[in-house]
Symmetry: C3
Subunit: 138 residues, 3 copies
């Protein structure tokens, strides 16, 4: 039984950006030595999320637009009294439920054909960390 | 320490449908031989979700209506340029956060009195897979 | 390899309330003897949630207001035909995805600087249980 951890760092060029990370996570699973178990992936920040869906540009734009509709940028969040201007980014992180857990079988991510893993940045242009932890049997 | 996996297949009659699966998951936990740990349940698709809530018909309709309000069917999702017409199903899957993790104690799902597990199909009428992985101590 | 479980009980004074529980969960992780693994935290109820975000009063009010906008109190949920009046609480629980998983490294919660854990009560003023299960290597 084994637990293996890596920390990733992302610094997106745009303030809001979706970064495809399936290959990165797959490599960590391979390095972990875990043959069967679970792989947990989560930002260590409260203005970002990790989600699983399609790697299709149109849909990625649809998701960004939908997040903006449901959790919009607004000047008057109470949180902004602290000097911040990222209230919407906190809500978008909650809406996508910041974290994900992925199954590992035969030493690989056990995903469906179209399931891809994304890091969703909602307040970037600075270094942000993501933890990947693989837990299972060797 | 043990990891045990089964794959379920659902083919719903309606395009959108909620399927109660607590009993199925409970049987897999019993077969797994895991006495204490976690049970991960996730569709292997990006237009479905697994969620935990009440097994009450009125509420199930309320949930479906709410999903439609927050992530509506629309003709003009960018994703539809690929020939698909299921943009809303991707957003509904994100809104319910496709996956769930359930606690296992004494060889059984350790759920509250009213917690029930559902497979939420948003683009069905075809075979869709769900992975159930139980990880823990024997 | 070890699995350790505790059950917490919350009885909030207000019907809707956010309770900061990072310290409580941290103490359970310390007691668990798990050095590296995952900590699962979930209400055992379907009208509450556990979420991770900022411990900042303005933002907590923003989150509550946002939940009310996206999953509002309404008299006419079908669920209310059963005699209940908490349809919105079920939807809010789904919107925040009731559960969370937290990474454990070196015997401690491995959270980012601003990540804090909250119990979000949407139908309180009565005893509600939360399960905390720590799974990993000793």
């Amino acid at each position: 039984m084994k637990s293996y951890t890596e920390y990733l760092v992302f610094e997106t060029k745009k303030r809001k950006e979706m970064v495809h990370i399936t290959d990165i996570v797959e490599r960590i699973v391979a390095k972990s030595g875990v043959r069967d178990g679970l792989c947990f992936v989560s930002p260590m920040h409260i203005t970002a999320a990790v989600y699983v869906n399609d790697h299709e540009d149109g849909l990625i734009e649809d998701i960004a637009e939908w997040l903006e509709t449901v959790a919009p940028v607004r000047p008057n969040y109470r949180h902004h009294r602290t000097g911040e201007d990222n209230g919407d980014a906190h809500l978008k992180s909650l809406l996508l439920h910041h974290e994900t857990t992925l199954p590992v079988t035969n030493g690989r991510l056990d995903l469906g054909t179209w399931q891809r893993v994304f890091y969703a940045e909602f307040d970037g242009q600075r270094k942000k960390r993501v933890i990947v932890k693989v837990l299972g049997v060797e």
